[in-house]
């Protein structure tokens, strides 16, 4: 801990010195993102999946589908659950065990983006098999595999891309027993558009988009915003002990709205790729 903290403080000073000269550690512009690769359908056993390499960060998301009872207050709606694991595979500082507050916050931020944008329309008739009794339940599970910074945006993209290639079984009702039968044949999961996350961090007084690992460590404040392909802001999350002014938030929202357009395009492109192979990644 101690020696890490000293490194942390030296690293922070080094980054700040660079930023004062208008430079980032990897020579990007302050609002420039890193390269992104998506491999859809990477997991055979999952009903939907995607692996994302975002800069040095690698994330995989898988969607498993099952049928079960709806929540009592939404008897005709499907159910979606997002989990995220900061796997110890991805960083020497992560430990195994149930998700801690960091992983919980990330999962909930990704979840809110998907939920509030209604990109997966839970009220769609296809989501409900028998009203009040049986609906589709989606588990979106995200594993961080290599922590290269900006885990929220990479996770949100992997989850969105996995949902974009998710299939659910066609359902037939047995006429005698009135019980539903899941057929082998599958339909695409209903989807209306897409949503992406955009994360900005503050180091000293500088605001940067898409933090690398070093910038993630040095940040004093974080602001993530989820924006749908129709330009609507669906989620915001400020994090860390530092603060923002109203003006800073307004500036970030402007920058984010324009960047979101590019990112939302990537998802629809990826969903039409053929099934990818992981070794196409040079990770």
């Amino acid at each position: 801990m101690r020696s890490e903290e000293i490194v942390g403080s030296l690293e922070r000073r080094y980054l700040t010195d660079l930023l004062q000269k208008g430079k980032r550690i990897d020579n990007r512009g302050f609002f420039e993102g890193r390269s992104i690769q998506i491999i859809p359908n990477v997991i055979h056993k999952a009903e939907g999946s995607a692996m994302v390499k975002w800069g040095n960060t690698v994330v995989v998301a898988g969607v498993k589908t099952s049928v079960g009872p709806p929540f009592p207050d939404t008897p005709n709606q499907g159910v979606i659950t997002v989990n995220l694991e900061l796997s110890p595979i991805s960083s020497p500082t992560f430990e195994s065990g149930p998700p801690g507050p960091d992983a919980i916050e990330m999962a909930r931020v990704v979840d809110r983006g998907i939920r509030e944008s209604h990109v997966i329309p839970m009220m769609h008739p296809q989501m409900c098999i028998i009203p009040g009794k049986l609906v589709w339940i989606l588990f979106v599970d995200i594993y961080i595999l290599d922590d290269g910074g900006n885990l929220i945006d990479a996770s949100a993209l992997a989850a969105m891309a996995a949902l974009a290639n998710t299939r659910i079984n066609k359902v037939k009702i047995n006429e005698e027993t009135e019980e539903p039968i899941l057929l082998e044949e599958m339909d695409p999961l209903p989807r209306e558009g897409s949503v992406v996350s955009l994360t900005y961090v503050k180091i000293d007084d500088f605001i940067l988009y898409d933090p690398s690992l070093a910038e993630d460590r040095a940040k004093i404040a974080r602001f993530s915003v989820g924006i749908a392909d129709d330009g609507m802001i669906c989620s915001m999350q400020k994090g860390e002990s530092g603060v923002f002014s109203e003006e800073e938030i307004i500036t970030i929202l402007e920058k984010a709205t324009s960047r979101a357009k590019e990112l939302n395009k990537i998802i629809d492109e990826s969903s039409f790729l053929n099934e990818g192979e992981m070794f196409q990644f040079d990770f």
Binding site: Q77, C234, I249
Partner: protein
């Protein structure tokens, strides 16, 4: 936010509980309500009832968590099992962990933690009755609890949610507006400096609506901040009064 657009939340420009779009619910707060805690605050906000206890700065156990250059802040935001419609299991849910985290981060900003190396400041918040907007109410109460414990602070932090109902930005979202409305946006600030310490949203907003929401939140926060100040003054005037009484007795 609900996908269901049918719920009517505004009638004749007023909200279901009769409030104007920008009107706060009744709020009252009192410090020093607990015997055993170093600082405490009881806060009512609409039908929300929130109790906060503060301990510290005190020694941190287990010691390997201690920071040699500063105190740490530990916040537990919890819903009482009976504070919500369906009984909640006593084990904390993921929502409670998230809110504890963002309240911690907000409070971190206003404390001089480097004054108390190796120490901890513990803030326990229990929502006894929940009625929408509990995180902002909890943060507002915690801020007073810390002041009541005599812990040196850069300022008070104050929270208030705004939201979107029938395409209007409204102040201080109620439980039903949170559930059936179009969006919720909790905000907390250090009012005097305008520093935003907490900001979230869910729902569907345009950038302009967010901007309007921030403006309205700041106005509301200003009013609540005055209540916080009065609550603290009430405490000191009580102390002053009893001091006077002491003198009279002599």
């Amino acid at each position: 936010m609900s996908e269901n657009k049918n719920a009517t939340l505004l009638e004749n420009g007023l909200r279901l509980d009769g409030r104007d779009l920008h009107e706060l619910r009744p709020i009252s707060m009192k410090t020093g309500v607990l015997d055993r805690a170093d600082g405490s605050c009881y806060l009512k906000w609409g039908n929300n009832k929130i109790l906060c206890a503060v301990y510290g700065p005190r020694e941190l156990h287990p010691k390997h968590l201690a920071q040699p250059d500063r105190a740490i802040v530990r916040v537990e935001y919890r819903l009482a099992t009976f504070s919500v419609n369906e009984r909640k299991s006593p084990a904390p849910r993921r929502r409670e962990y998230e809110l504890s985290k963002i309240i911690t981060e907000s409070l971190n900003h206003i404390l001089f933690l480097e004054k108390f190396p190796n120490g901890t400041i513990d803030v326990f918040i229990t929502v006894l009755d929940a009625d929408g907007g509990t995180r902002c109410a909890a943060l507002t109460a915690a801020s007073l609890g810390l002041a009541d414990a005599g812990i040196p602070m850069k300022g008070l932090v104050t929270g208030c949610a705004v939201g979107k109902v029938e395409d209007k930005i409204v102040v201080d979202l109620s439980d039903v507006e949170d559930k059936d409305g179009q969006g919720d946006m909790p905000v907390a600030m250090v009012y005097n400096t305008g520093e935003i310490t907490l900001l979230q949203c869910d729902g569907k907003f345009t950038a302009e609506e967010i901007t309007e929401g921030l403006k309205l939140a700041k106005e509301a926060i200003g009013k609540i901040y005055q209540m916080q100040r009065r609550a603290l003054l009430a405490k000191y005037s009580q102390i002053a009064e009893s001091y006077d009484e002491d003198e009279e007795e002599e």
